[in-house]
Amino acid sequence: MLCATLKGEDRKVGLIPHPNVTLSVANPHRLPSTVAREDEHLLVAAAKRGDTTAFEELVNRYERKIFRLTMNITRNREDAEDAMQDAFLKSYTHLKDFDGDSRFYTWLVRIAANEALMRLRKRRPNQFSLDEPVEGDDDLMPRELEDWGPKPDQRFAQTEMHEILSGVIDNLEPDFRTVFVLRDIEELSTEETAKALGISVPAVKSRLLRARLKLREKLNRYFRRSVPN
């Protein structure tokens, strides 16, 4: 998984809370999102036993990421909020059915993705076609190819970069965008993405490649050296 590879050791966070924060489910609102994820199974086990503060801690930990996911899929704030809320409510209701085969977060992402996809299909019934045949590999060669120079992203302020990334992903077709979001942002495996979307593994691979190439091409318009800051 490229994202995990790129992040390397940063992802292997230990059980080390922020120095100014007490790691306690009694004080969930003060927990940083970067807190260790290795204790996730303990929180899930406690939540399954009926410890609502443990479940609330899971919500606190993942609410921003789940909202990002549902926003990235729906590109509509109202739908994204509804999808996120329903995802957390359903995960609470069905927590007893979570068998621990995957991470809780992966399970939650699948629920949230389904909620977001339902709303996307309702809003854009003709633009969304996850069950269409796998595309051929023709016409993949990038048309725009220019040097970006060293570290082109550093030419932009953080807010500006966020707007650029948000804009380019917004313009990606929903079926490519959804695969990219699940694979490269939420770091689901190819198989998990296929299962979540109800499409084949080759379809996931094909769409991921196309999504990556399309996003590169869209970013080229911002990063090429000839564009002034």
């Binding site: 992040k7 999102s33 609410e63 921003r64 909020e81 996120m84 993949l140 992903i169 990556r212 590169r216």
Partner: protein, 79 residues
């Protein structure tokens, strides 16, 4: 391996999923093709930018509604 084949293999290469022979063929092509090298570098950077972006803070009104709904659900389940 020609340029078309390299483009088709970009994801597999970046994700480390190519077998050794395919990987070596692709890397051999890269030693002589600056265009494919550029495409691979830029595609990798594209993914890196998205996966490194921190999620923005949840708007307070959205967060309040979420937690209120959860509390209602928890209370309803406990009744």
């Amino acid at each position: 391996m020609n340029c078309d084949a390299v483009i088709r293999e970009i994801s597999g290469y970046l994700d480390g999923e190519l077998d050794l022979t395919r990987k070596q063929d692709l890397e051999l092509h890269l030693t002589t093709c600056t265009e494919c090298t550029l495409i691979i570098d830029q595609t990798k950077m594209t993914v890196e930018l998205f996966c490194n972006e921190e999620p923005v803070e949840l708007p307070q009104d959205v967060r309040s509604r979420l937690h209120e709904a959860l509390l209602r659900k928890i209370k309803q389940t406990g009744d």
